[in-house]
């Protein structure tokens, strides 16, 4: 027994030592790379969900970034140097995002991070970025809490707040005053819903019933039964992912609930238009102004289709566009400022009416994106003006 314990202790200690050594070796190798390549490459960090529940977002966004980087590098790079992106997994959660950010800042030595995608990632990463004067630029996080999360924190994706209020006003305009809500219990969905609710009640409407469901459930039928019994003029549905949105649509129509649906931009996600075209027909929602047919936007989608075969149906196209624009915007700032983050910061705050795949972008004094939101409606299976 004595000997057995000793062997296992040796084994245990060895395991730990191996782990520590592996990390240190990995780190030094990485730093070594940094030093040797800094004359050839400009490094950009990227933070997003590459595993876990939101992984279906991360992959298409990674593709967009790779496309943009390839284009930039083929056009001479940034002042002759190649742009290189280091992708890290934030797992859509604060602790992991912080670990990833720490690694990007301290091991890879990046000065700019494009990310997070989930708001939890951005909120987790922001303090570290702020402290290290590293630019954190999110192309996908909508939490209103991000507005105040740092001087070096920017986004070209609008705060969730805007979508909800625009749709609420649309409902009132359409004389739909009594609304029933079905929202997923996530940060994004609840934030949007809260704004919707406030705007609606301030404009003379009322929420007859406010139902929610947890993300790990797939059966919303009793919530929908309650909604049906409340006899609303219309329903407001906010899900966290197009997959859940589709499920909600399916169950709503199966239960014979036929009222007008107000929702978010998932109505236009590829998978929804394909699999639920009948159910989503007529849905009204608001998006940051993104005209698929406009030059730059259309170009982007065509390029993506050409390179990757098909567009992932998991994300509405607007997320792809903001991601694409972000890469370009950041590389333009690097052109002007090299990697001096204070200079880049000032440049970013100056962004006004910049034309991009997403439309016209202005960044306000909080680092937030000012977007015009427009109402859309699904007509004949396609996104159209509302």
């Amino acid at each position: 027994m004595e000997r057995k314990i000793n062997t296992s202790r040796v084994v245990g200690t060895l395991v730990i030592l191996i782990a520590i050594v592996a990390i240190i070796v990995g780190c030094t190798a990485q730093s070594g790379n940094n030093n040797s390549d800094s004359n050839e490459e400009i490094k950009l960090g990227w933070l997003g969900p590459l595993s876990g529940d939101a992984a279906a977002y991360g992959e298409p966004l990674q593709q967009v970034v790779n496309l943009a980087v390839e284009e930039i590098n083929n056009n001479g790079g940034i002042k002759g140097k190649k742009l290189k992106v280091i992708f890290e997994d934030g797992k859509c959660e604060g602790k992991e995002a912080l670990s990833a950010t720490q690694k990007l800042i301290n091991i890879d030595g990046v000065k700019i991070i494009l990310g997070g995608t989930c708001s939890g990632e951005t909120l987790g990463a922001a303090p570290a970025a702020e402290q290290n004067k590293v630019i954190l630029f999110s192309a996908g996080s909508g939490s209103p809490d991000i507005t105040k999360s740092g001087d070096y924190v920017f986004r070209n994706f609008p705060s969730d707040a805007t979508s909800g209020s625009k749709v609420a006003k649309a409902a009132i305009d359409n004389k739909h005053k009594k609304i029933a809500i079905l929202a997923e219990q996530t940060e994004y969905a609840q934030a949007v819903k809260n704004v919707f609710k406030t705007t609606l009640t301030n404009s003379g409407g009322s929420v007859v019933i406010d139902e929610s469901y947890a993300s790990d459930g797939n059966d919303y039928r009793t919530q929908i039964t309650k909604i049906k019994a409340a006899n609303p003029d219309a329903i407001y549905v906010v899900a966290q992912t197009p997959a859940k949105y589709g499920l909600a649509l399916k169950q709503i129509r199966e239960l014979g609930v036929n009222q007008q649906i107000y929702t978010n931009e998932f109505a236009a996600a590829g998978d929804i238009l394909k699999d639920y075209s009948k159910e989503v027909e007529g849905a009204i929602y608001a998006v940051p102004y993104f005209n698929e047919n406009e030059q730059k936007s259309k170009e982007l989608l065509d390029k993506l289709k050409a390179k990757y075969g098909k567009l992932s149906g998991a994300l509405p196209p607007v997320y792809l566009a903001t991601q694409y624009d972000a890469v370009y915007l950041l590389s333009e700032s690097i052109e002007k400022c090299d990697l001096n983050t204070d200079c880049i910061k000032t440049e970013l705050y100056k962004v006004k009416n910049r034309e991009g795949a997403t439309g016209t972008l202005t960044i306000d004094q909080n680092g937030d994106a000012v977007f015009e939101y427009v109402l859309k409606k699904i007509v004949n299976g396609k996104e159209s003006e509302a």
């Binding site: 279906a56 139902e211 459930g217 797939n218 059966d219 039928r221 009793t222 997959a243 199966e254």
Partner: protein
């Protein structure tokens, strides 16, 4: 009117919980351990059926049969590689429960690795359900309930009437005596795992058809199935049906009155209440756990 809809909603959910609970109870009877593998089998069957039917394009009945074969194999492997070694070492029940959790995570991890993170569906056509007696129910849901019902009847008959069924019950009562009487313990154990895997697999495939497929779909289902089994009386297979239906009904009727975000908590509050006041469940027989030292 809405009330009948709630009952139907409860039956649909309850049928699934009941299948999982029966699977859980069957295994508990034979190895006398709580284990979470029905959750892993649930996911495996769902994704296997999807892989065979949608990805490989095989006709649905063939896909189901192949999925069953895969799941049953996995179930037998889990028993052979993980549970039997632990049982042979006379491990305590918590060790096995924890190991089964580990197994669940491994299986789920592989599903994630193989199929990726995107949610999948069978893409069945969506139609408004049949409206009858004040509630609405779709074709798929009717099939779900009927299939479960048939399986439960078949299971009951099997346990009561067939030689194998009787052998299983004998073993659950007293393993030593059973083996003395000539029952092949190993064979019956394997058959139990096959049967339990069958139940969990059907549940998985039904849910995949009616809702969708995610790699984590087995987690809450096995925990609620476990709850249903405890409520019915752990180890009492027919009672697992009742337990499952109770959970399904209370969940759905409960959130008629409570904020619906609390839906999952309902099942576990019921679990805690039963564990405190009536651990042997509604129809339970002697349970080893609370009595022995």
């Amino acid at each position: 009117m809405a009330f009948t809809q709630l009952i139907v909603n409860g039956l649909i959910a309850g049928a699934i919980y009941a299948l999982i609970a029966s699977s859980f109870s069957l295994i508990f009877n034979i190895i006398k351990f709580m284990d979470l593998s029905p959750g892993a089998i649930f996911v495996t069957a769902a994704f296997s059926a999807y892989a065979f039917n949608i990805i490989l394009g095989l006709p649905f009945p063939i896909a189901v049969i192949l999925a069953l074969i895969v799941s049953i194999t996995v179930s037998l492997l889990i028993n052979k590689l993980v549970y039997q070694p632990l049982i042979n070492k006379k491990s305590n029940s918590f060790t096995l429960l924890l190991a089964s959790f580990g197994v669940f995570l491994i299986v789920t991890g592989f599903i994630l690795l193989i199929f990726g993170a995107e949610v999948k569906t069978f893409g069945l056509p969506i139609t408004k359900g049949y409206e009858v007696l004040g509630f609405i129910i779709t074709k798929t849901q009717i099939i779900l309930i009927i299939t479960s019902f048939i399986i439960f009847i078949a299971l009951h008959l099997f346990m009561k009437k067939t030689k194998l069924g009787k052998a299983m019950r004998a073993m659950s009562d007293n393993k030593q005596v059973a083996s003395i009487v000539g029952i092949d313990v190993k064979k019956i154990t394997n058959i139990t795992f096959i049967l339990a895997a069958f139940l969990a697999s059907i549940a998985g495939i039904l849910v995949a058809l009616e809702q969708n497929l995610e790699h984590n779909m087995g987690f809450l289902v096995i925990l609620k199935g476990l709850t249903a089994s405890v409520i019915g009386g752990i180890g009492n297979v027919p009672a697992a049906l009742i337990g499952g239906l109770i959970i399904g009904l209370v969940e759905n009727i409960g959130i008629w009155y409570l904020p619906s975000g609390y839906k999952d908590a309902i099942a576990f509050v019921i679990l805690i209440i039963f564990l405190i006041f009536r651990p042997k469940g509604l129809f339970g027989t002697k349970t080893r756990e609370e009595n022995s030292g």
